[in-house]
Amino acid sequence: MKNEKLEKKVKEFALGNSKAFDYIYDVSHKVVFMVAFGILNNRESALDVMQETYRAMIKAIGTYNSTNFMAWLTTIARNLAYNSYNKNKRVVLSDFGDQKYDRQITDERDEGDLFGVAKSLLDEESYLILVLVVVEGYKRREISKMLSMPISTVTYKYKSALKIIEEKLTKEGEKYGY
């Protein structure tokens, strides 16, 4: 299974086998990028955050002591993305005050950007599940292990996420008459 192999490679990488990094990066970078992109809604900033995430991961790999590498890595990505967002907000978006990230991001988004819509409507976990299934092709049972969550919950959250986006799109379509 993809996740099991990833955990093995992480273990090897932690022991000093730098060759294992390629595999880790190849199977995780899309999810890391989409998590950052979902928060920042800016491709270049998301790329920077992605790179910073791996840098932080390399530094902290010795402390990794779990079997949920992907969950661990996406937490790093999310924290770094919020840090980056706060930093940029102080410079550009200082008027937004204490409003929630999601709200602010939604206001700036192009409605055609489905991940943006997803990010604004879904909770963190549902968004991550959606990205893991749709972008990286993980199986729901793998995600359930990865996020320590029953498969039924993963399935429910995934199906609900798709339904919420679909409803939103249908409403938008009706609003604009298409």
Partner: protein, 384 residues
């Protein structure tokens, strides 16, 4: 509306490109050696070391004390070690690893390198006994020209049970040596454990075979022995398998292509058809033999069995059914008396002939496989 499809499409348009990924990866990799140097040059903290020593002593005392108490109070024998897989690595240049279960059956065979992938391509070794598997691997190495006069067969047996490990190693050394002598192959078989491996194994408290695997992993990956001893045999085996993963995948995909091309070769296809036909015939004859009751007394005694459709009512019906399987001019048709012993003897002869025939065709098919493997081996050598 297919949301998934739209999401996938949108993700593709924003995800990092291959070029961006290469750039990021290379920048990240550049930062890795600095990280390891930083780790290596950490100052030695005497206070921390002193506390660690005290803690270690306390732990040893506790573990030893509890262990002694458990052992002396129960009065039982030492706990039985859990059974785990045993690995047998055969290295001629093609390097392959055989995984054995706790009763000695081959449960997996994997290549460690490209030549190993060539060697194992199309082979079905899982399920064979260890002797048969080793025999097959050495035979293939010889046929494909990997094993030559003056060459070496390196053998590594790794398991958690040291005695079992040594026993398998000794047995295999003898068997492979016997095979080399029988086939007049001027090569030698050696166990991959030298004095250094032995002393390291003793120092770290692992078996010689496991230490040999650890040394291979350390040499290839740069991991220190101290760290690698913590890995299980499964992990070590996985790491060795992954070392030349790209080469193995490339070899397998190219050989698969050759295999596809073979499907257009009429001679090869006709051999396949023949072998299937004879195999089917063997199955059907064996079924007739099973249903044929040789002992007439037994037949009378067991009326229930006689009534059963599966058993022939008389030998004549069995003969009729057998002849119907064959073509009219087949030399195997039975024309003798309708008695179970003579018909049974005829069937046995036919089966023997058919099996010889199948073996012959199998050999010819094997030659086809050897040819495609040789073809790929030579082309890979040229491109290297």
């Amino acid at each position: 509306m297919d949301i998934k499809k739209i999401l996938r499409g949108q993700a593709k348009s924003v995800l990092p490109t291959a070029q961006e990924n290469r750039r990021i990866k290379s920048q990240l990799k550049q930062s890795m050696p600095a990280y390891s140097r930083e780790n290596k040059t950490k100052k030695f903290n005497y206070t921390r070391a002193a506390w660690a020593c005290v803690a270690a002593c306390v732990c040893i005392a506790l573990v030893g004390g509890v262990g002694f108490w458990l052992f002396s109070s129960s009065g039982q024998n030492a706990p039985v070690a859990l059974s785990t897989n045993t690995y047998v690595c055969i290295d001629v240049n093609p390097s392959v690893a055989i995984t054995l279960d706790d009763v000695g059956n081959v449960v997996a065979v994997k290549p460690y390198n490209k030549d190993g992938a060539i060697l194992l391509f199309g082979e079905n070794i899982v399920g064979l006994s260890l002797d048969e598997a080793c025999d097959r691997i050495i035979q293939l190495s010889w046929r494909l020209g990997y094993l030559q006069s003056g060459g070496n067969v390196n053998l590594t047996v790794a398991g958690d049970d040291k005695d079992k490990e040594r026993a398998i190693e000794q047995e295999l050394l003898g068997k492979i040596d016997g095979f080399l002598q029988t086939n007049s192959i001027d090569a030698s078989v050696v166990a991959c454990t030298d004095e250094n491996t032995l002393s390291l194994a003793q120092r770290y408290g692992v078996s010689q075979g496991k230490m040999a695997l650890i040394q291979k992993v350390c040499q290839a990956t740069g991991i220190s022995i101290k760290k690698a001893v913590k890995l299980s045999l499964d992990d070590l085996n996985d790491m060795l398998e992954d070392l030349e993963e790209e080469g193995i995948i490339e070899a397998e995909s190219q050989l698969n292509q050759y295999k596809q091309e073979l499907q257009n070769d009429q001679d090869y296809l006709s051999l396949q058809t023949q072998i299937e036909k004879y195999q089917r015939l063997v199955d059907e004859i064996e079924e007739i033999m099973d249903r044929l009751c040789f002992d007439e007394d037994e037949e009378d005694e067991d009326e229930e069995e006689e009534e059963d459709d599966e058993i022939f009512v008389d030998v004549a019906t069995a003969i009729e059914e057998f002849n119907a399987l064959l073509e009219h001019d087949s030399p195997y048709r039975y024309i003798g008396e309708a008695s179970a012993p003579s018909f049974g003897a005829h069937l046995e002869n036919v089966l023997e002939d058919l099996e010889d025939l199948i073996d012959e065709i199998d050999d010819t098919i094997e030659d086809y496989w050897d040819n495609i493997k040789q073809l790929y081996k030579n082309s890979a050598k040229k491109s290297d």
